[in-house]
Symmetry: C2
Subunit: 210 residues, 2 copies
């Protein structure tokens, strides 16, 4: 298909498509003449993926590029793909304190987890814990064990989904990791908001109708 059709079907303007190609997020179409380029359904799928990561996952275009390159690389280990999104976020380079890192690692240990020292999630969690403490809200840190239990439930479902895709080829498995991780955070956050409302009603307004 030509760029106009790709733009129409994806909902992304032709100018933006060209820009994504030049930025390296989207492979170029096949040139069939001086001013003709042919795009196929793979390009359409890729565009949808890009838009999902950016619009729903909240990634910057640069971060989406990094994540997608990692997913595209057949030699790239799964474990790292997830971390790249985190590392690509416009995070201010404030490393967490050793104390918070230790506390989070401690929770992981109690949970029976095997977690590498440089795990980006560990760093991210420690940064959050630092903020709780800086805000004088040590009480909020008490949620850590409960959150860890919940994270384990989520991760089991995640790895379950990925393991079912391993025989569908590494590309599909990698895409599962990317989509499941980035959009999964948003999904989980949404469900959390729902559960909060429900739990809040249950505790503070018992007996009131739905």
């Amino acid at each position: 298909m030509r760029i106009a059709e790709l733009a129409e079907r994806s909902g992304v303007s032709a100018a933006s498509i060209k820009w994504y190609v030049s930025e390296g997020l989207l492979p170029a179409g096949e040139r069939t003449g001086y001013n003709q380029t042919d795009y196929d359904d793979d390009h359409l799928a890729r565009l949808r993926l890009i838009r999902s990561l950016v619009e729903v996952g909240g990634l910057s275009v640069a971060a989406a590029k990094d994540v997608l390159s990692a997913a595209d690389d057949p030699d790239h280990p799964f474990g790292n793909t997830l971390g790249i999104a985190q590392a690509s976020l416009p995070r201010v380079a404030v490393p967490p304190s050793q104390e918070s890192l230790r506390r989070v690692a401690d929770v992981a240990r109690r949970q029976g987890w095997t977690v590498h020292d440089g795990n980006p999630g560990l760093v991210a969690a420690a940064v959050v814990l630092d903020r709780y403490l800086a805000l004088g809200r040590d009480d909020l840190a008490a949620v850590l064990p409960a959150y860890a239990r919940a994270a384990e439930v989520v991760a089991e479902a995640d790895i379950d989904t990925i393991s079912k895709k391993l025989d569908a080829g590494p590309a599909t498995a990698a895409q599962t990791v990317v989509v499941g991780t980035v959009l999964g955070d948003a999904l989980l956050a949404g469900l959390r908001r729902m559960a909060q409302e429900s739990e809040s009603v249950r505790r503070f307004h018992p007996g009131s109708p739905s």
Copy 2:
């Protein structure tokens, strides 16, 4: 304290502090003369809160302002404070499909939740589900029940923390909601990343050392 000291102690430049004041995120200090304004520890705490929401929570300054105004309003119901952050995100106004909304609501019902139709989490979750389907990844939707169970564990801990702060005054409780919700998403995402690594090692490389 003067603005220079506030800047020094908060790590935010004096120019930025002035800007936050003019944007309405931070209350103005007390003018003590033509070019003298006095700030106190409340301003410092507020600045730390703003920076945490923006840097760690990923809120835009405008979104942080909305969330903080909601938290500041003594008449504002808790239940809504959480939703404001979600609604303030630079979300493209693509409403979810009825089908996805129904599916998510269905999961909530099976979980025994009482969730309002307009709950922002419900909308956010449905949007994610729509993307899964648009990407042809119906299999990813299978994680919904597991995620819902995890969300319930998290929400119980959240409401637990808030209920302990109810007698500390509505302002503290509201701040707990804001911080716990916004930073809590980041904390949970980090722990999820850790649990994923651990679960991945457990399943695919059993017996290997940590």
